[in-house]
């Protein structure tokens, strides 16, 4: 299926991401050029994974594997599962509390195996797609993984604007520009909580550079007038 995935990215994903969306990447040279490596990003949209995968050269693509929730992608809708496995190349993980959870099994095992084989993993420590512009608290699964592979570099990435182009719960994406900020790589520091906190700070720091406004929630002129009338 390798060739199908390559073809899919060459013909569909790259043109769509570059032309329909439009991407501005800051410090792309900081992305890992070889595995094993981990890329950590914020998560607002299904487009996040397509954009991140499109940033890597095609030759490296077979190695780049997004870690995704098995309960979301592999249950129910079989088309979605087929696309996720064969075209996107996800590594399914059984989330805690999901129907697929198996207490005796190590949930991180598939990710660890891929890393041992030199993969570049994409991990969203927020655990799920959140509201655009808002960073949810990072879960510490990534720290458990890095603890086991202390030599693997972790590159933080901040994706900006994608949550507007295709937010959770919407059926279709709309063309809007997006920005990608790549941070300097982090190494294992010996403490899980500390490591996750450090990662979170790095991503938060990059979030400040985003150029595009979030959803407009300003009160209308009528509301302001009503508020003024109330004060009088």
């Amino acid at each position: 299926m390798h060739w199908l995935r390559l073809l899919f990215f060459l013909v569909v994903v790259r043109p769509a991401v570059l032309f329909l969306l439009g991407l501005f990447v800051r410090r792309q040279e900081l992305l890992p050029r070889q595995g094993p490596a981990i890329v950590v990003a914020n998560h607002n949209s299904h487009l996040d994974t397509l954009v991140l995968l499109a940033l890597f050269p095609l030759a490296l693509l077979p190695k780049v594997r997004p870690v995704a929730a098995a309960d979301y992608f592999l249950e129910g809708d079989s088309t979605l599962g087929w696309i996720a496995r064969n075209l996107i190349g996800i590594i399914p993980i059984r989330r805690r509390g999901s129907a697929l959870e198996n207490m005796r099994d190590d949930p991180l095992r598939p990710a660890a195996e891929a890393l041992a084989q030199g993969a570049i993993l994409i991990i969203y420590p927020e655990g799920t797609r959140g509201e655009p512009g808002k960073l949810a608290k990072f879960k510490n699964g990534v720290a458990f993984l890095v603890e086991r592979f202390p030599d693997v570099p972790v590159t933080p990435v901040y994706l900006h604007g994608l949550g507007k182009a295709w937010p959770k719960g919407e059926r279709w994406p709309v063309p809007l520009l997006c920005e990608v900020f790549v941070g300097t790589r982090l190494r294992w520091c010996g403490d899980r909580a500390q490591f996750v906190a450090k990662l979170e700070r790095r991503v938060q720091a990059m979030a400040r550079f985003g150029d595009f406004p979030g959803w407009d929630s300003e009160p209308s002129a009528a509301d302001e007038k009503r508020a003024l009338d109330g004060e009088r």
Binding site: G22, L177, P213
Partner: protein, 320 residues
Amino acid sequence: MRGWFDLNATLLIAVGGIFALLVAGTIIIWALKRARPEKDYTELVQRTKSWWVMAAIFTAAVLVDRVAGLIFLGIVSFLALKEYLSIIPTRRADRRILFFLYLAIPIQYYWVGTGWYGMFIIFVPVYMLLFLPLPMLVIGQTQGFLRAVGTLHWGLMVTVFSLSHAAYTLMLPLAPAAKGGWAEPHVGAALMIYLVVLTQLNDVAQFVWGKLLGRHKIIPAVSPNKTWEGFVGGVLTSVALSAALGPWLTPIDWRGAAILGAILGIAGFVGDVTVSALKRDLGLKDTSQFLPGHGGVLDRVDSLTYTAPLFLHYVRYFYY
């Protein structure tokens, strides 16, 4: 279907002229870099490189045929609208409206392509204006309604309606006053080249005169780098250039072309400053980084959004 070989000679000379200018510009910047190696010319070099790419794509699109020219300008409208929608505040409820805005691009350029002037001229200002509130009413979020409907329609007017005027020049037939040696599609291509070259050179001339002589700020609250000297120098350059190029590339005589040069010079300035005001309001320096050294597509076509409608109506009214 016409081939490259039977292109009008004047048209080919005009395109040759564009590239001769680019060669000259590239040599001047190379000489500047050698003469003053301590100064940073990165932006100027990037800008010139982008000019090369833009000129190559533009001339190819215009020379191939009308359809290629229309598709090219449709893509420019798409990129400019996308930039606009990305930088303005929008309500989540209006996501579906954005689809309709993008859909307006192929429809508007279809009217251009069929040469249906009446529909082309009212589709965005009237029918899109009437239609846009409907999906918003169905969604039912009234908070921010006026602001949303106003900002979205303004963006559509600037990036799609105004720019499609440039495309409509491609559709103009042979003028009654036309000289010999012209065939129909070539007339449109020549008008388009004249419009775009004059608009862009007016930008460059205002920039260069401003750098050379600029003292008195013209509109400091919006665009602190713009000066009276740059503005007047640019307009005078455009008048001279237009008087020289007009009779050669278009059905306009030199007097009419000189007036047109002044109109385009002033309109180009206003378009430039209008987009500057938009950026200032949103707290941005450029609308994007799509064109290295220039900023975004909207930064590059800002003057054209004003010059294209004025040019089309001037030519249509006086020469057709």
